[in-house]
């Protein structure tokens, strides 16, 4: 609901801006950044501190971009949204890395356990 409202506001502001002859409202950048944030969340970014920090940066930048759009600063908003997208991607990559490392540690632990059992 909130997202829909945000989208409606951004669309409306964009239309106004276009009418005034400035840069277009970065709809594409906004939806891409938001999709990246969702992907990072689904990928487990909230479960790892480093990834969570990057995710926060992404969300902060999206919020900043939305404020800029509201002020008609669409060009700057587009930059922030691309930055947000890269933050969200980093968050996802960090989450995947942490998970992969954890899995590898578990695999090693499993082997050590078995070797211990075999010896005893």
């Amino acid at each position: 609901m909130i997202r829909q409202t945000t989208f409606a506001i951004v669309t409306m502001l964009g239309a106004v801006q276009m009418a005034c002859g400035g840069a277009a409202v970065p709809h594409q950048e906004l939806s891409t950044a938001q999709a990246s944030v969702r992907a990072a969340e689904v990928g487990g970014a909230t479960q790892h501190p480093q990834a969570e920090l990057s995710l926060k940066h992404a969300n902060d930048k999206i919020a900043e971009a939305q404020a800029l759009i509201a002020d008609g600063e669409n060009e700057l908003a587009a930059l922030r949204l691309r930055e947000a997208e890269s933050d969200a991607e980093l968050a996802l990559a960090l989450a995947l890395k942490e998970q992969a490392k954890k899995d590898a540690e578990m695999a090693l632990k499993r082997i050590k356990l078995m070797m211990g059992e075999t010896r005893s």
């Binding site: 990057s54 700057l76 930059l79 922030r80 691309r82 930055e83 890269s86 933050d87 991607e89 980093l90 990559a93 960090l94 995947l96 890395k97 998970q99 992969a100 490392k101 899995d103 590898a104 695999a107 090693l108 499993r110 082997i111 078995m114 070797m115 075999t118």
Partner: protein, 299 residues
């Protein structure tokens, strides 16, 4: 050597000249920290596992850094917001690439460890199977041995029962001329002297031989440790004669038993004359009881 020094001097002159030109034109612009951080992050990504495991991602990071570099080169002042933003993105892309490279490395490591684990599992299962087979084989042998032992024991029990039966039968057939008693010194078979020998003689009577044959067979079947054959007389006559007669009678019984297959070293014959009377020597009946041969069988 001189050529080397000359080349170095030329290079130094070139560098100094370039610097002088740059300074004369107002100085080279210092790259923003964001761009420096992006370069450093890319450098790290390109020398990490991503170079091998995530080359496409590394290329994306390279392009992002290139875009930032171009923006900065084109117009550092006018394009500052865009440069900073592109540098920020380039750094994030490089960091993302590094993370993806490390994740790929960790995944590869996990796959390898999983394979090792499976291999160990297989080995352990094989080992367990082999151990199981060994235990089964051992149990089969033990079971076979046990069955054999059981069969042997049963056979032995049957043989012993048969021997005992035969001994009992032999002893029973001796009933009219012998008595059998279990004493602390062993089984004592007392044979009446008048049934075994003619008065004053030590040759066994035919009927006595026949009965002793049965006793010999029974003892052989049952087995024994030792047999002591004691010859006894009444008190009439000289001691020397009685000693000699009792010894010869005991020896006659021994010789007959040995002739029937009993082991000589396990049999001892002794003459005790009238030293151990069973009854009185004052009546004919008592003296008849004292004239005897005793077989003491120990198992």
């Amino acid at each position: 050597m001189s050529t080397f020094h000359s080349q170095r001097a030329s290079r130094l002159a070139l560098v100094l000249g370039t610097l002088a030109t740059v300074t004369a034109c107002g100085g080279a612009a210092v790259p923003p920290p964001e761009l420096v951080a992006a370069r450093s992050a890319y450098e790290e990504a390109s020398t990490g596992p991503a170079a091998e495991l995530a080359p496409a991602r590394l290329d994306t990071a390279k392009q992002a850094l290139g875009a930032a570099e171009n923006a900065w080169k084109e117009d550092p002042k006018a394009k500052e917001p865009e440069t900073l933003s592109l540098a920020y993105i380039a750094e994030r892309r490089a960091l993302t690439t590094s993370a993806i490279g490390e994740a790929a490395q960790a995944r590869a490591s996990r796959i390898k460890l999983d394979e090792e684990y499976m291999e160990l599992e297989r080995k352990r299962a094989t080992m367990t199977q082999e151990e199981l087979e060994r235990v089964r084989a051992r149990l089969a042998i033990e079971s076979q041995k046990s069955a054999q032992t059981e069969a042997e024991l049963a056979k032995e029990r049957a043989a012993r029962a048969d021997a005992e039966k035969r001994l009992s039968a032999a002893v029973a057939s001796l009933a009219e001329m012998a008595s059998v008693k279990e004493e602390a010194r062993g089984m004592v078979i007392t044979l009446n002297g008048s049934v075994l020998f003619t008065t004053g003689k030590y040759q066994l009577l035919p009927i006595a031989k026949q009965k002793l044959d049965e006793v010999a067979k029974a003892l052989q079947a049952q087995g024994f440790k030792k047999i002591v054959i004691e010859g006894h007389t009444d008190s009439r006559g000289s001691v020397q004669d009685n000693e000699e007669l009792s010894q010869r009678r005991a020896q006659a019984v021994k010789d007959h038993l040995v002739s029937q297959g009993l082991e000589s070293p396990k049999i001892q014959a002794i003459g005790l004359a009238a030293t151990r009377p069973l009854d009185t020597n004052d009546t004919p009946e008592g003296r008849a009881n004292n004239r005897r041969v005793e077989l003491i069988v120990t198992n």
